[in-house]
Amino acid sequence: MKLTLKIWRQKNAKVKGTFVTYKMDDVAPEMSFLEMLDALNKKLVEEDKDPVAFDHDCREGICGSCGMYINGHPHGPVPAVTTCHLSMRYFKEGETIWIEPWRAKPFPVIKDLIVDRSAFDKIQIAGGFISINAGAAPEANSILAQKKKSDEAFDSSICIGCGACVAACKNASAMLFISAKISQFALLPQGRVEAKERVRAMVEKMDELGFGSCSNTGACEAECPKQIKLTNIARLNREYYKAY
């Protein structure tokens, strides 16, 4: 497969970036998107040129490291996959592919396609936990949780923190990310105890970091590689007003 790549190259946070065009001549359809970039980087390194920097680690769609904005979509045009799982067979012969970093004020570009997502950690640090010390836990089965609610909590808790929701949202809002964590804990009895403090602290941190607000466009839900649902956002809102 022959492809034309338009990749955002930016040496570091201080300098301006630009799109650079690369021609790829022998892309195999079985490659993953990152393996395609590996091939490009191999070529660049052999020519003693700076390879394209991108975050990646597990390459099985669970660590949340990878993430780039491909042809107008976070993680590319295929729903429910991360970039590392995006197969090249979804692209057409001769296609031009635009590859950009996440764009959001709280996610400044570090280099090329790498952005600083520590804002997500800061939000979790603000309140994304249940306060219990090791050793203080009661017998596991002494906390009974409705199966239905527990399953729902699981569906919210599978967020991988990749940032696609922020990247997709026209407002660069982090509401889906936060609502997933809030929902997980709100749905479990052990999480209810400090539900109020948690939701206030996390929302406050979110605002402070400069994320936009939610206008219910649904882009986050459409692009989330783990298919986290918008209903979580409604729950976050509810939890927040309850915490007044």
């Binding site: 393996e35 390459r59 570090i110 950690d121 089965n141 599978i158």
Partner: protein, 639 residues
């Protein structure tokens, strides 16, 4: 025995841990704040230890190479986490879990450590549940369990196929709580370049800030390595592509013994390699073998699509060879059996390096819905990667490098041979012997981090309370930093042609071919030579563009590969030394007539702990004899 003192407490096995905790030295709460502890790694053991130590009041500094602690590779564990709760009333107990681990590890693990791991497993489940980990539940609201490869009880707690992720996020949340409280300071995107040893004690680390290239010094009263395994030594493995052995290897070169490096688990159910560019082999949870049947065609080079091969022409080789356990034999056994069939020419797929994992019987019996409920996300993942639908045709699977039972040698307190340096989780060697049973890695890692280390470290730190904050101006820090910088400069100045990844790939291929699921003396020796040659080529023809004073991922990779060139040699040395087949270590020379592993308990019932004695010199072997007081060593049979 010499330098090895495993410090196993006296008394009956079941009372050792209780007794130890009751008599261990403690640190006064007021003194804890003054004591600094470095924890490297943020997986289940690292984040667990950092938060538990933070909760106790120590000043903790926690490091990881990822951009966030939430991405440590514990996140990718799928199947579950074991505990001896006996919620199913099926005869489980701490003793049975301990026994299964000892047997599963082919009698090459230390009894006392394994028993303790089984003991704290229940606390781990209590703690994770309290932290809000959404484990699967039954309608009555209690926790559900499932059975997992190699055992006959149902003791595996799970959160669909994402148990590792859920447990890790639990650890991450408790870590965040301590970061907020100021007890833990987080240093992401840092690579540990060296360990600093002062007067024989671990006193700090040298790191590289992966964003800026800055070399940093960090001092502490104790250093904890929770840096995982070295499965990426095969290049293609189920590990994260950036997982590496460098931190542990550097500690080893500073005096920490490395134990049983040749014990590497090859996981039987992975998506096979599809092409040469592949960077990663994805694990398909072992739980699939609960319902999937493994088979290959009975005729060689059968190219018919799986569904066109009639029942009588299929060889369900695990059921044939192991009628008692069938498809549920432990990982090492299943992997070798698959390799045996493929080597004999019965493999399926274009590469012929795959076997079928068939769900059609299960779908017929239980219905598609039931199978979807259990494995839906795994089936989806398989389809995403391969484009094939496991509901319609069998999955193709093949073994891949997965978990390293070997690691830094530690005593009962999880301390390495360097005082003040601890190794926890996968980075130590202690609990899994020669083979790990499914769902016991999360258990051990979390147990080590949350419940073992916080109790044992005080025994060392109690004597450190008069030691002031470790100054990083000491000459040992300067020396270690200088060595680290020199090595970076050396790597940068090669200016050859090839990428670090291409060397890594070739190294991995040698390892896989000669030091993989089966080994023999000639092959091991050949690999040793080939690796030496490749290493020389590496140091002549590597290229790293850019500079060392910036984000430079090629440099990161090169450093890790350079360390692998050294570790592979020790791994092979260990494999050559162990003239027996046990667990994951299968020497072709030592097998029964029907192809099963032949252990040699008279000569090899020991832990091989290797000491580094200098560049270019052969490692020195220290043996820790394994004494089995509770269990009798038997032939591990799953037939």
């Amino acid at each position: 025995m010499g330098k090895l003192n495993s410090k196993i407490p006296d008394g009956p096995l079941a009372q050792k841990w209780t007794k130890y905790k009751a008599s261990v030295k403690l640190v006064n709460p007021a003194n804890k704040k003054k004591l600094e502890i470095i924890v490297v790694g943020t997986g289940l053991s690292g984040a667990g230890a950092a938060s538990a130590l933070g909760e106790l009041g120590y000043s903790v500094k926690n490091f990881c190479y990822q951009d966030s602690p939430r991405r440590a590779h514990s996140v990718a564990a799928q199947g579950g986490i074991n505990a001896a709760k006996n919620y199913q009333n099926d005869g489980d107990s701490v003793y049975r879990l301990f026994y299964d681990m000892i047997k599963g590890g082919d009698y090459r693990a230390r009894e006392a450590n394994v028993y303790r791991a089984a003991e704290v497993s229940n606390q781990v489940i209590d703690h994770f549940t309290a932290l809000g980990v959404p484990f699967a539940r039954d309608y009555g609201g209690t926790l559900d369990t499932r059975s997992f490869g190699g055992v006959q009880v149902s003791r595996t707690f799970y959160a669909k196929g994402q148990t590792g992720q859920q447990c890790l996020l639990g650890c991450y949340s408790s870590l965040n709580r301590q970061i907020k409280k100021g007890n833990v300071k987080m240093f992401p995107r840092r690579e540990m370049l060296d360990l600093v040893v002062i007067d024989g004690k671990a006193r700090g680390i040298i790191t590289r800030n992966l964003l800026t290239g800055e070399i940093e010094r960090h001092g502490a009263h104790a250093v904890v390595l929770a840096t995982g395994g070295y499965g990426t030594i095969y290049y293609l493995s189920t590990l994260a592509v950036n997982s590496n052995a460098s931190a542990a290897w550097k500690a080893h070169k500073k005096g920490a013994f490395f134990a049983n490096p040749s014990f590497v688990q090859i996981h039987p159910t992975c998506v096979p390699q599809l092409n040469e560019f592949q960077s990663k082999l994805t694990l398909m949870s072992e739980s699939l073998r609960n319902d999937g049947r493994v088979w290959v065609p009975k005729t060689k080079d059968d190219t018919r699509p799986a569904n066109d091969i009639p029942e009588e022409e299929r060889d369900y080789f695990l059921e044939r060879r192991y009628p008692t356990f069938g498809n549920l034999v432990p990982r090492d056994v299943a992997s070798r059996a698959a390799k045996e069939r493929c080597d004999a020419g019965y493999g399926v797929g274009e590469t012929k390096l795959a076997v079928n994992l068939d769900f059609s019987d299960a779908i017929n019996k239980q219905g598609k819905k039931a199978i979807e409920n259990k494995y839906g996300n795994l089936f989806e993942m398989y389809k995403t990667i391969t484009g094939m639908d496991p509901y319609e045709e069998p999955m193709r699977i093949y073994p891949a490098g997965h978990y390293t039972m070997g690691g830094l040698w530690v005593d009962y307190e999880l301390m390495t041979t360097i005082p003040g340096l601890y190794a926890i989780g996968e980075s130590n060697f202690s609990d899994h012997g020669a083979n790990r049973l499914g769902a016991s890695s999360l258990m051990q890692a979390a147990g080590d981090g949350y419940f073992v280390l916080p109790n044992t470290i005080s025994n060392y730190l109690a004597d450190e309370i008069r030691v002031p904050k470790i100054s990083t101006d000491k000459p040992e820090f300067a020396k270690a930093e200088k060595a680290a910088v020199e090595r970076i400069n050396k790597l940068m100045s090669i200016k050859g042609k090839q990428t670090a990844a291409s060397f890594h790939k070739r190294l991995g291929k040698i390892m896989w071919d000669y030091v993989g699921m089966t080994r023999n003396e000639a092959g091991l020796k050949k690999a040793l030579d080939m690796i030496r040659e490749l290493r020389d080529e590496f140091w002549k023809d590597l290229n790293i563009p850019g500079t060392a004073n910036e984000l430079n991922m090629e440099l990161d990779k090169a450093g890790r590969v350079a360390d692998y060139f050294e570790l592979t040699q020790l791994l092979i040395t260990d494999a050559l030394n162990r003239k027996e087949s046990c667990g994951a270590h299968f020497r072709e020379e030592y097998q029964t007539p029907d192809g099963e592993a032949l252990r040699n308990d008279e000569e090899f019932a020991y832990v091989a702990a290797w000491e580094y004695i200098g560049e270019g010199k052969p490692h020195m072997l220290h043996k820790e004899e394994l004494k089995f007081e509770e269990v009798e060593m038997k032939v591990r049979s799953y037939k």
